[in-house]
């Protein structure tokens, strides 16, 4: 039996550690510890790894509600915000990497990218939409916003769709990997539609 206490004192700290692992690994690669390397194009590797983990954690966060329905247990909901905030952290770093390392803060070029490259436009839009969700993720904001909080946080579906679309669009030719993300997202959203229809009956 998984008690609330066990989740709070053991499983959630463990989840924090797990979420931090890709970032720690990236830092070890960057520092070239124990023969780890980032290769000859570090800016792009860092940018891409951060983006991929941000998207994975976002989908992980979206998997918690269906997981509660499937298991009938409340514990998955205790990981929803944790995963969402880690996702935001990775995507914020993804954005920072693009901004500072890839584009060296060259603002005219960045603005042109956002305006002219559709995959960057939607990726940037998704990131902006995540900011209010991260800010209002606290218990205080949730109480204050009441019913509107749930409506606001439905934006996460838009963010996830834009995020997967961004990944699909940027790939040069081999779309196998982004299609896996799209399929997982379709499954998670489809599950919600199915549940909503069941409730309506």
């Amino acid at each position: 039996m998984t008690s609330q206490r066990q989740v709070r004192l053991f499983w959630r700290p463990l989840a924090h550690v797990a979420c931090a692992l890709p970032l720690v690994y990236l830092i070890l690669q960057l520092a070239e510890v124990a023969g780890l390397r980032l290769g000859p194009n570090p800016q792009l590797v860092i940018r891409d790894v951060l983006g991929e983990w941000g998207l994975r954690l976002l989908l992980g966060s979206l998997a918690m509600t269906p997981l509660r329905w499937l298991t009938g247990k409340p514990w998955p909901l205790q990981f929803r915000r944790l995963l969402g905030l880690w996702s935001f952290a990775y995507l914020a770093l993804h954005f920072v990497t693009y901004f500072f390392l890839d584009r060296s803060l060259d603002l005219p070029v960045i603005i042109e990218d956002i305006a002219k490259r559709p995959y960057i436009t939607i990726g940037f839009a998704a990131f902006l939409l995540m900011i209010p969700l991260a800010i209002t993720s606290t218990a205080g904001w949730r109480r204050q916003l009441g019913a509107r909080w749930l409506t606001l946080h439905k934006l996460v579906y838009v963010v996830a769709v834009l995020g997967c679309w961004h990944f699909y669009w940027l790939v040069k030719k081999d779309v196998r990997e982004p299609l896996v993300y799209c399929a997982v997202l379709a499954l998670l959203l489809g599950f919600r539609l199915w549940k909503a229809r069941q409730r309506a009956r």
């Binding site: 000859p40 194009n41 800016q43 584009r103 042109e112 490259r117 196998r176």
Partner: protein, 323 residues
């Protein structure tokens, strides 16, 4: 605003093709008495080159080489695209161990007097190898400096006596799914095919590559024979060539077939013509290590800095439409 760097090859240093080829014949006849023309060991004797790669003998330096410092051997051989081995940048190095570049045969056909199947030695051995340190610009907006070893493609093609009908040269990559795991999935339509106009193929900068850093070409870089057309995006420089055809019509090219709106037949490096999904105005010179982490991109040069030598090939051609 694009800052144009002067090309490191002055027009005055470029020998007209005919004179150049005559000089080559002369040098060959003289049996290379001049030791000064041979490649010094400084570049070739990089300790980072694994011993399994055989050193190439009698490699001559070339005035066409850039003075920019070459990328490391491990960068050139560890970070590249070769979809036949997978679509990741480290896939070619990781998945090409089973590929067998020897023995090797190339079929020469089409509009030429001499056609047939020729083995590697019959293609390469009559020529003197040259080291050409070229800028390499990938269509994905990264670049390297690579010390290739090869032969001017035109010298090789002439021996097959193309007829007056030959207006293009088409190339084809080997298909061996058992040795090239990337070919098991149709991410591209195998075999990989590429093509050049006759004038591009005969241009003295166009190289038939057999090695890099003074050693034989590693599998992941297109062993045993590949093209290097330094003023075009990397995908034009087809690898592991098994067929050369002289054609009257413009031949199909793989990336153009895959995405006609994104990759054209010419694919000349052009900072003013963006890829539909990204800018081509700048490029990242790849470089490993913490020190390069904060390095800025650099501006991309028209024709990858070889405009003085090749721009005349495209006189009157709309380079925006013919991207």
């Amino acid at each position: 605003m694009l800052i144009r760097k002067p090309s490191d090859i002055k027009s005055s240093e470029i020998t007209p093709e005919r004179t150049y080829l005559n000089r080559r014949a002369l040098l060959q006849a003289a049996g290379f008495a001049g030791a000064g023309t041979l490649l010094s060991d400084a570049l070739a004797a990089d300790d980072a080159i694994p011993a399994k790669y055989q050193r190439l003998a009698g490699v001559r330096k070339s005035p066409f080489s850039t003075t920019e410092a070459p990328n490391k051997f491990e960068e050139i051989t560890g970070y590249n695209n070769f979809y036949e081995f997978g679509t990741g940048k480290d896939d070619p190095a990781a998945a090409s161990g089973r590929f067998r570049p020897k023995p090797w045969k190339v079929k020469v056909d089409g509009e030429a007097e001499v056609t047939g199947t020729f083995d590697y030695d019959s293609i390469v051995k009559p020529h003197v190898l040259e080291e050409r340190i070229y800028r390499f610009r990938c269509v994905e907006a990264w670049s390297m400096i690579v010390p290739w070893v090869g032969i001017p493609l035109g010298d090789v093609l002439k021996r097959y006596k193309p007829t007056s009908k030959a207006r293009y040269v088409a190339f084809e990559t080997v298909v061996r799914p058992e040795e090239m795991p990337g070919q098991k999935y149709p991410v591209l339509d195998w075999p990989y095919v590429e093509g050049l106009t006759m004038a591009e193929a005969m241009h003295p900068l166009t190289l038939l590559v057999v090695g890099v850093y003074g050693v034989e070409l590693p599998n992941q870089n297109g062993a045993p024979l590949r093209l290097m057309v330094p003023w075009k995006y990397g995908f034009k420089s087809i690898k592991s060539i098994v067929r050369i055809s002289f054609t009257e019509q413009q031949p199909p090219t793989t990336w153009n077939l895959a995405a006609p709106g994104e990759y054209g037949f010419y694919a000349n490096v052009n900072p003013k013509v963006d890829h539909p999904r990204w800018s081509q105005a700048s490029e990242r010179r790849v470089s490993s290590g913490l020190g390069s982490l904060f390095a800025a991109r650099q501006p991309t040069l028209p024709f990858n800095g070889y405009a003085d030598q090749v721009a005349s090939l495209y006189k009157g051609l709309d380079l925006v439409r013919n991207f």
